[in-house]
Amino acid sequence: MQASLTTAERQIGTGLAVTLALGGLVMAAAARHGVMAVHGAMALALGLGLVFRLGAVLYDVAPAGLDRASRYDDGPTRFGIWMTLTWAMIGMVAGVWVATLLYWPEATPPWPATSFGRLRPVHTTGIIFGFGGNALIATSFWVLQRTSRARLADALSPWVVLIGYNLFCAWAVTGYLMGTTQSKEYAEAEWYADLWLVVVWVIYFTLYLRTLARRAEPHIYVANWYYMAFILVVAMLHVVNNIALPVSWAGAKSYTVWSGVQDAMIQWWYGHNAVAFFLTAGFLGMLYYFLPVRSGRPIWSYRLSILSFWGIVFFYIWVGSHHLHYTALPYWVQTLGMTFSVMLLVPSWASAGNAIATLNGAWGRVRDDATLRFMFVAAVFYGLSTFEGSFLAIRPVNSLSHYTDWTVGHVHSGTLGWVAMIIFGAIYSIVPQLAGREAMAWPKAVEWHFWLAVLGTLVYVIAMWNAGITQGLMWRAYDANGALSYSFLQSVQAMAPYYLLRAIGGAMFLGGAVLCTLNCRATLRQSRTRDLAHDRPLAAQPAE
């Protein structure tokens, strides 16, 4: 981090680190005990760590030849990829473990922190925000600079964004283990963590706009539209869904201002659009950059990319209410949610089709290059799971699938098959370049990872389809006398083989991710500096 900073930036950085440490101290002192005190102590420790790191080199002369203006700023991306992989390990291990507990509940240790209900949000937050979020931020810096042919607007704020964001993730996850949660799905972090994320997000978006303002290309490339939609809409969703009144400024507990049916609607407006704008829009940005670059083919249709972008931004916002079919939510809102969910298939398939058609003429590369294959499979799964999503949103289908493991299977065909695959494709594209090498250190391991990931996803998703449909049918089965055929418990017992298979599928996927992490480590260890004439800002621009 410090190597690329000037003396003045190191001083400002040290100042920010001192502020963070003091803030943590105040927080810990005000709370005195409980989760908030621990979180204050974590901020204090992080701040002090950064003070030492920057303070040690405060007045060192900047390394000779620090010609920043003619290079992209890839240090933050490198750190972001490390955090992506770290959270992948945390989130996926937690996921495989809780999956195992469903098959083998006696394995739960008698400690509160290792109970299923506390580890489950560790899995979801670890994967969505830790793994997915870090990947989005890290790749957005990479893509933004290259599609703008300009260096990031300043050297310090990308670090503030990444370090601040990871503090949010760490606060959230450790909070659940200690028993703090808002209990709003995918927005479980407590009020001060939510506020902190808003600060980080504003810095992130400002940096994005400032860098765009320096671009040497007149047009803003489509990948950036998606990244911007991701940043903007996630901010809107996050703020509205998390409005809460703390019981005390010195404690973690707060109550959401929303209640009952409004809370349910806002929660799933947030929840489904976390899928749309966190897990889809940002990753489409990733796809629109890395797929053409890796395959050497331009995006198949420019018009189709415009259509699908605005279609996704406009339609997705409406669909959250399909999570609430047959509930106490007014019927017309359910119907709107269903209708827009079906219409959403058009822009979704336009994106997926555009991606796949881009590969026309490059199928030989798809066959030979596992990295490109990751991206191809991601586009295929994106198409499949958006079709499944529209299908599940239809009211009668939803009456069978809702509350069952079919939903879990659907989510994972999206997250494993689409989101994780495109992340791995992007990582395998970036990491060799970061290391100044032609390829990953262990090309064979990329192949292994690919097949483990594909097989693991298929095993997982097929097991959950079977589980969900079985559950749904058992719950609604009547015998000849008009009585329910099965007790709830019988439907639980019927799940055992599928839960076992799911844990195995998840473990295979995790195995592939471990290979990826080791491979990245081996590759980055042998980093060389290499200057590519084409991979640099177009002009060394003067400051704005």
Binding site: L101, L232, W258, D263, W269, Y316, L484
Partner: protein, 243 residues
Amino acid sequence: MILRLHYNLEKLSMGLVGAIILAASIGGLVEIAPLFTIDETIEIPADLRPLTPLELAGREIYMREGCYACHSQMVRSLADEIDRYGPYSLASESAYDHPMLWGSKRTGPDLARLGEKYSDAWQVAHLTDPRAVVPASIMPAYPWLMQPLDTSGLSGALATLARLGVPYDAAMIQGAEADALAQSRPDSAAAEAFRDRHGDRPALRAFDGDPSRLTEMDAVVAYLQSLGTQTAAAHLAQEGTAP
């Protein structure tokens, strides 16, 4: 024409920002804003009571342990759900729930109509070791619920909820800690004061079987026994399904 317009829009970062915000706001505004006016016309049942301090403490523990990840509290208006669980849920039933706990997954059964379906002793045994009561259960055990309940934040919690519109009066807020204790001690002098403040309907029992100590188990069982009993509206709305 439109392509031409878009061609120019792509050169303006603030133009894109504005267009994204506009496009992404409409759906939410149309679907969410009317719910707040509907709320004024939805009748809050006259008999809807807010949770007692002990039940609220139990709800906090329910959230803390992530129970909502496997149990819904929302009976859908489908025949098999009404036959299995009871009357379908009404919007007004969760009007005081900050946040709602409708849930999204049934790894275990729905709990919206759980109150008074099983005895306190069954609930305690089941939470302590589910497989001792239901051998095929895959629910985790919660032996640590036998630890003492921390009641110190309850007044603050009630006060905060009152500010958000839950009908807790000043006496309820002031007496929250005492009432939490009293609700698990039917024979104590404080029990009468509890009845004065919270009425006759909430259960007043030694939920964990031992009136001499106030545990998290007391709170969780009190909460579980309150589910679906805060109002009879759902039963009345669906004649013939009376409990």
